[in-house]
Amino acid sequence: MATKKGTKFSEYVYTTACPGCGFGCGVYLRELYPKGENHILSIDYRKTSPVNEGKLCRFGVTLADYYENAEFCLNDCFDDEIESVQKEAILRAADVLKDVKSSEIALISVGNTTNEEHMAFMKMGELLDAPVNTGVNNIYKDIGKLHVYTAAETTYEDIEHAKTIYLFINPYISYPLLTRRLVHAKRNGARIVYMGLKKIPIACENIKVKPCTSLYEVSEFCPDSESVIISDITPYTNSKRLAEIIEISKLNETGAKLLFMKPFVNSAGAGHLSRHTRQKSFEQIINEIKNGSIRVLFFLETDLINICLNPEIKDVLKNVETLIVMSSVKSPVCDIADILIQTEPFYKKEGTITNSEGRIISLSACTGKTLKTGFYAICEIIKALGQKPETFEDIQKTVFEEFKIEAPDEFKIVKPDVKKYDDVKKMSEKLEVCCPADAPETNAKFIYEMNPFIWHGRRDNNDYIELSPEFIQEQKLLKGYTADITCACGNIVKTTRFKPSDVEPGYIFSQKKQPFAKAPVAKVKIEMTHVHKNEEEKRE
């Protein structure tokens, strides 16, 4: 800071939520302004948040860096004073949307923004007769009426009082703030059973469950009324596994509680608000882009280049005639957008989000002022499309009605009043197992451990793979050297560092998006390379 003596400061502190995942961690974002200079951004720990009590994972701890490196400079863009450059982009977007058929438009909002912005986007979608896709509703479609059991019913506190906890996700990696709830549960005498292919220290029992194994064949999975089952719903959730979890716990009337974690800060809110819309899966949308039936793609705070595991997605997106991106962060999709509408960073937004438990959390300013630039940008499009937009207050009222609340209270859990069907039937038998086809030239199966760094395309110190010591020995890999991983098709090779870990032999895990794996589970080939890891780092 090249500030002279006598500098006076001003400061804004925002009471917000970490955008890393759908856990809903409370955090303060602090903007410190030395007079006449750029602001310094830092975090402060929000210890009264009932969600995380001031604790944050690695993503949250480095949140200031995330915003510093990714945010657009819109500090002077207050409320409805949308900058002229923005107005031009908004009008261009409206012109494009006017000129295409509704079937040629795809609107996508995965839940990286407030309930209010998402609802305004839905209103715009209604006007265009195009539903807002959240990326997960195709999974609900797969599991049919079983989806009624995926609604929020379990709190993080419930975990602490469970007798048995069945874990289908690695809490340390995917939703790190779950860890302390599990620590408390274990202290209270809970038996924690991890269903996966990696041994995790918090678990009392680590049960080997392969991606293609049917849960009906796993005798250790026997939930009862004192159990909590923790899994997640993401664009990559295996519908068959999801259906089996629900069938075994709910159709058998075990009384077990289900907690489905969500990947984006407002996945739960967006999912709830968009629950009645007829949506397409990402795969379907991508296919329709490829065959030319989708001409206009509109992303609201969504970057499929980050989210999709397939590295070819960038080229696919270039096929759409007009790619409209409304974003508060500089992410890869912004670079290829035909129309880019910049909005205020998430931490400055006014409105609410809903976390995986079903808490409606208000985003506010402790000092300073929250913004509604993104909301007003959508309203401007609605106006340009010829309809009078609703006010923020009206939209918020609709949101509250959807959640059946009068005002948000983060200390209360909102359990959506979902209709239970009498004739919910087993679906899992009809669903396919998502296992990669056999490829004789491969020798390992690769599994992604999804986490906030992957969802947001952020770099971390996680560029390595994990594999078992037995597998390392078998493949003659040497400590301090690297390994070559080749995709099943043999075209993509990456040299990477590796870590011996307590994983099932023959399996490879990664917390980072890898070019050789386009799916959550993929077949790959691993071989020793004679590059020392330090040399590899130098090369990079």
Binding site: Y28, K47, T48, E53, K55, R58, V61, T62
Partner: protein, 391 residues
Amino acid sequence: MTKVQVGDKLIGWSTNEDVRSKGGSGGLVTAVFASALDKGLVDNVIILKKANQFEAVPVITSDVEEVLKSAGSMHMVISNQTKYLRLFENAATIAVAVKPCDMRGIREQQKRNMIDPDKVFTIGLNCGGTMAPHKIRGVVENIYKIDPSQVKGEEIEKGNLIIETLDGEHHTHSIDELEENDQGRRDNCRYCSIKIATNADLACGNWGVVGELAGSGTFVEVMTEKGAKFLQNAIDSGYAQVEPASEKSEGIRSKVNSVMLKMADKTKEQVFAAIEGNKLEDLRKELENCIHCGACKEVCPSCACGPEAKCTLYSDPTDDYDISLYHLIRFLHLSDSCIGCGQCSDVCPADIPLTKLYRRFANPIQDELNYVPGMDDRTPPFFVSKLEELE
């Protein structure tokens, strides 16, 4: 006219009636800060901005009126003034109220050239301990059966946790009983050995304020020349009034402190009883749920290292050691300078009792080296190349 000198023990209060009634113990701290800003002794003052009944965030201001408006005790609030001060990179003069542990952190940063002592003026506040905000909210709701939104303030006095509600009622409960069920003060506060911030420029608090001044006066001990100057400024500019503390007042203050310290010593003995069995296995078990977030390093008031520190550079995520080198290096690196403030435990997402672990390493080292970090200007022992020079 009063001439304030180092070593003076006085009772003071704000001359502004509003500040005096609203402020904690007579609003002296607010008066000293407002006058310092008004007369140009500092460019900025750090005040606490209330976020809710149980939490406040430090914010900076150069507005005298805002300082006066901020009057009101929020001493139970846990903030990290040391790390907050570092954000300013010594670009301005700043006045701040601190708890003893905050001040210890500031002093350790000063020794490492991170905070310029000439740029900071500190008022230390007596501290019998703090409570985690989420915990105190739960206690209020479940033990006191009070609507949390009705809480005005809280105080630990004569072995009780007193909750004051907006209707002026005081609700009490034995702090010992609460602590038996882990519903009281933070663990580290229970064995903290510094209750009066004599390491600050002025050491203030309500202990020893008796008679008519009880509740409307602050006991202040002048610890440094700078402290004397700032208090003199408050008096001379008409913001504050003082009178000498009586022997009785001094005696009561000292007695309260000594009772608190005895309780802390007793707790310390219990908490740090020798570990039976395999110490290394015990340590491994405690750390096994670490998610490598790095928050403990980020918040540590004694740590002056940047992102490329020994603890981060010598540990690699591809290592598969039973105990990460990150923690082992930090335990050793901080064993001379850990102040036991509890910030690391507060932010740990795996609820690892980090402060207790750090203290297990620090207690014997600091005892052996006869060093109490953050209490004076002494060079940290690990800065001295030959340990025998310390003797």
